[in-house]
Symmetry: C2
């Protein structure tokens, strides 16, 4: 059979193949299904979505489906929204607002799940304004509009957004609430989509609108959806079981345990709106958003351990529904509303920090007794079981070997000059993607040379990228999704000779990193309490960094997860054994260089003989050398030097067997003791 | 004229004297006034309450009033509630509950102001159960009752409470909510007084009652007040102006500034229920509760900077109402309810953390739009102005001289043996009370010898006190209220030779104390972030202490104030210049010894040349030697030794001119450099 590309043979031929394969779908339905598949990000490696059409598709059917997909892809709108047409788009929105009888509308970046990644169909802010950053909000009034983005996105927003249509404001320093209070006309009604905001956000906007003498009004239909004519469909990436050898605990056991925690609080049900909670609870994984293997869905967990899963059934691979078992009832997404109505008089948990105001409004109207509390899956998900921990350790060894091969390559290639940020990060992806169980990057690689390294959430583009030049620092923050674990690691390396100031700053960042890595703390301690340890060496010189020190990391799930974190932000969440967090202090000199040293660590019991308290500490699981050329050893005390030498010895002994001879030789030199 | 004690000459004579003095009161009214005065704690030195009767009382009238007071004091019930009569009291309460149609009642320790100190008239928990500790709750049902106290009060509660009437439970480990859920009968109504709980507490109890299938019901009349036949009247300690030379800012300016902060948030008014906020705002001080110069009162601050002050006018000294000015409208306490009703349709701030649920219920019924936010006086009160800071520095010098005279005396007297905890703390009070501007202790002195030092909130009684014996540690935590500042200091001293373990633990506590004293941190840092610095040296050995590291301290106000603190508890409140906090790490070995080293510190700018961030640090203002005999100098690094030697040099040079020759000689030895 010809392995080359066959053109699409037409609907009649496809219909025949579908019938032969026992597919439940006709050609129109398949066309819609394929559009949904194409609305999901491309998977690496490609998951066989063709099984969604028929459980065991013949090669000819597969070929025809691929051909159809290629044809449809060519006709689908590209998810880019040129500023040129933004005037037309805002005009259509304003006409719709007039039609719905409101004087303005809030357009957040969030979608219905309030998550970090948003599918193409939820990119309302990007569609309207052209702005594609990961955080932001537009407020559109009849006569004026503004977009609010944070410091990382000021330049990008200036590029992407038509300044004639939107005033550009700083998200936290010139907050939207103040702008609303100053600009909403007296008596005006500001509309919002209750699906896209948490209840706390709604209250803040309501106060702002009332301050202006106006009102805030929930809209039943999102006015952008009403006028977004070529809006992509909801993504339909295949949903698969996450095998027990990776998850470590069966879904039925998880359901029973979380349900027991509900029953203990005399609760009848919990509404789950975070796809990562549902993925963890049911041991399923998908691919509806970039870099995180999430199937977008909603669920209700009942106190009897049964689950109503609201999901587009078309994306479940054959056999999945059966594998989920009789305790999981699958229903279409639009069955969520009547299911909430049916919770009348029940005590229902919903999480106001991560669930949409719509959920609370609906439960209130239904007469449910709402119990506001954290999503009950978040904490058990964060405390990894031994199978997950062993998996993530194994993933980190493979990931470290890939990163180390990259660093050895860089050490040899960079001095020759001419390397650009994008080519370098492509090379790193290449090293990683050959590893066992590799599925995807866990986030877009941050590859910052010189001054670009000082941009904390930098994303290299052909227009922005720099060459790696002698006398500069290169910062690379990257990670991957493996079936057995999620990685996230940052290394900062000197290209040529670093300056004394660079070495001073790097060493202070390293001192903070080591202080955390070495600390032991009593049971009950939160990440907020430990954060200062990572900053103290910088504070002494009047320096600091404007990001958290550590975020939670999932197990083949989100590279950012809660509730654990290490941050100056207040938190009542104790660090518990099995939690994975990053340890990533940094220092950024605008226009000059950026430094960050990031390893992932696991919270682990660390008993002390003769001690009175149960102590925990951190097990460092990331394995890659830290650039000794950047270290001023005179600034390190004996404990700090010992930690670094021990760490490097572990890196060397663990990774040497996994790398080629050239890399091994480089690694041996890179991990020499400081004192040698 | 005879200076001796003259007997009360009878109502007719008093009436004549009152008329002659132009008093507005008749004898019956004076009798009620004097009872109110007697219901306040005795002031040190006695404030001339007699001016409340007539502005310029003749000596004969003063004498008659004192005689009347002596007579009334002898007939007033002593505030002690013997367990023997507790059965009768709970029976009367249960009868009243039946009369009001409820099946149970919550009896918290809090009064209507939710403060730390409660006047005699608010001691409902003590009246009912006999328990006099500073925190606790009783739940009384028809068939059973329980009292909930925390670990510091377990033994005391066992002594004071009739175990046949009340099950004794741990306040946090066996919380009342669980007990209610388990014991409230299906369908039963549990009553509560909405004046005595915050809205958050009410919600927790409501959930607990509903879990049991019962309900929670607000009662319009507190059933204890209905059956407490000999209940003391509300206290009537004289309310005085706090002079501008101590407060540093006029009340009118304060009112304008806080009102401007309300207007900025488009608020019309704020309800103030914390007497310390009102005392600060209006520059008034009183004496209604022990150890804190508070006039109990409520207030409403309006956006136009006017204040409605709800207070018993009888306790205002002559001229005070006029001095408060036309912007302060004085009304009786029972005018608060209609005043809240008049806030209909206004945007009104109320603080759910410190104000009673009653306030929120009333505002809601009135149709006010409630803005839940922190009491707007708390933050400006916490940031002391330069006059307050200079005052508190001066107070700390006088206080340090008194404490140092005490320590010198103790060093000489203790080895002779036989000293008891109470005699020792009486001696300390004697040293302090002679100081300029001294008004009162700022809290009951904690004077703990040997094992008693390990009881964090120890209060010596004749039954509990121990002798100070060789080979033990003695811990003394004490402070005073001076017109120019409030002090709070803890020293731990060795009686004879301390053991190596005691010296190890003492030195680790000292390391934590010094780490905080030396730390510099960027603007925006909270006390939660710094707390771990004080614990780290203990954590390393598996040790810790179960209390906060630092609390805010007022300026001739509460020795405990917010919103600042240094604690493992989450806090979003940055440490701001002018805030006073304690620095008091400790270590406690149950049954053996306790260690605490406490100084007060002021948050102060601490710039770093070449730094990029605005840095703050701590100025230590407490002055008294730290016992060098307890220090293992080998555990201190060079920075720590330098801090201690510098501190001791400051203590010596500041206090030597203020003490007698014998004390000066002792002080010179006690403050020798460690390295000498």
């Amino acid at each position: 059979m010809d392995e080359g590309f066959a053109p699409y043979g037409g609907d009649e031929a496809l219909a025949r193949l579908l019938a032969a394969a026992g597919s439940p779908y006709g050609t129109a339905e398949v066309r819609a299904l394929v559009k949904g598949v194409l609305a999901a990000p491309p998977a690496i490696p490609a998951t066989a979505w063709t099984v969604l059409v028929a459980p065991d598709p013949a090669p000819e059917l597969v070929q025809q489906l691929m051909a159809l997909a290629a044809q449809l892809r060519a006709t689908m709108p590209v998810a880019s929204f040129p500023p040129g047409a933004a005037a037309d788009r805002i005009a259509r929105l304003r006409a719709e607002l007039a039609r719905q009888g409101v004087d303005g509308f809030l357009v957040p970046r969030a979608d219905e799940h309030q998550g970090e990644y948003v599918p193409a169909s939820g990119q309302r802010l990007a569609w309207l304004t052209g702005f594609t950053g990961s955080a932001g909000l537009a407020v559109v009034l009849a006569g004026r509009a503004a977009i609010f983005v944070d410091g990382r996105y000021t330049l990008q927003a200036r590029d992407q957004v038509d300044a004639g249509l939107y005033a550009l404001r700083h998200l936290t320093e010139q907050p939207a609430t103040e702008w609303i209070s100053a600009n909403l006309p007296q008596g005006a009604a500001l509309g919002y989509d209750p699906w896209l905001h948490t209840p706390g956000e709604v209250e803040r906007y309501r106060t702002a609108a009332e301050r202006a003498g106006g009102t805030l009004r929930a809209l039943a239909t999102n006015p952008i959806d009403a006028v977004w004519s070529d809006r992509p469909p909801a993504p339909l990436a295949p949903v698969l079981l996450h095998a027990l050898r990776f998850s470590g605990k069966g879904a039925e056991e998880k359901r029973r345990e979380v349900a027991a925690s509900l029953a203990k609080d005399a609760l009848d049900a919990a509404v789950l709106t975070s796809p990562d909670s549902i993925a963890w609870l049911l041991n399923i994984r998908g691919g509806d958003v970039p870099h995180t293997p999430l199937p977008l869905s909603f669920a209700i967990l009942h106190a009897d351990a049964s689950v109503d899963l609201f999901i587009d059934r078309r994306k479940l691979v054959p056999g999945l529904a059966a594998a989920l078992g009789s305790g999981v009832h699958i229903a279409p997404p639009d069955a969520l509303a009547p299911a909430l109505d049916a919770l009348k008089d029940e005590r229902v948990l919903a999480d106001p920090a991560i669930s949409a105001a719509w959920v609370f409004d609906r439960l209130t109207q239904a007469g449910a007794r709402i119990h506001r509390a954290p999503d009950p899956c978040q904490l058990p998900k964060a405390c990894k079981n031994p199978v997950e921990l062993n998996g993530t350790r194994a993933a980190h060894i493979r990931d470290g070997a890939a990163l180390t091969r990259f660093l050895a390559w860089l050490a040899q290639a960079a001095p020759q000059g001419g390397l650009g940020e994008i080519a370098v990060s492509d090379r790193l992806e290449q090293f990683r993607s050959g590893s066992e169980h590799f599925r995807d990057l866990s986030f877009p690689t941050i590859s910052g040379a010189g001054p670009n390294g000082a941009i904390v959430h930098y994303h290299a583009t052909p227009a922005s990228e720099r060459k790696l030049e002698p006398g500069t620092l290169y910062l690379v923050d990257s990670g991957a999704q493996y079936l057995d674990g999620t990685t996230d690691v940052t290394r900062t390396v000197a290209i040529g000779q670093p300056s004394p100031e660079m070495r001073d700053r790097f060493t202070r960042v390293l001192k903070g990193h080591i202080a955390l890595a070495l600390t032991r703390f009593p049971k009950g301690t939160t990440g907020s309490q430990l954060d200062a340890l990572a900053r103290r060496a910088l504070w002494e010189r009047g320096l600091d960094y404007d990001h958290g020190t550590g975020h939670g990391v999932g197990s083949y799930l989100g590279v950012h997860e809660g509730p654990q974190r290490i941050s100056k932000l207040p938190s009542a969440q104790a660090l518990l054994p099995g939690m994975i967090v990053s340890n990533e202090p940094g220092y950024y000199k605008t226009g000059a260089y950026g430094i960050r040293i990031e390893n992932l660590v696991v919270v682990t019991p660390a008993p002390e003989a003769g001690g009175e308290r149960e102590l925990y500490g951190f097990e460092t699981i990331t394995l890659a050398p830290i650039d000794r050329a950047c270290i001023d050893a005179a600034l390190l005390d004996a404990h700090e030097r010992a930690w670094l030498d021990d760490y490097h010895a572990t890196v060397r002994s663990t990774l040497t067997p996994l790398v080629d001879a050239g890399t091994a030789a480089w690694l041996a030199a890179a991990t020499q003791p400081l004192t040698a």
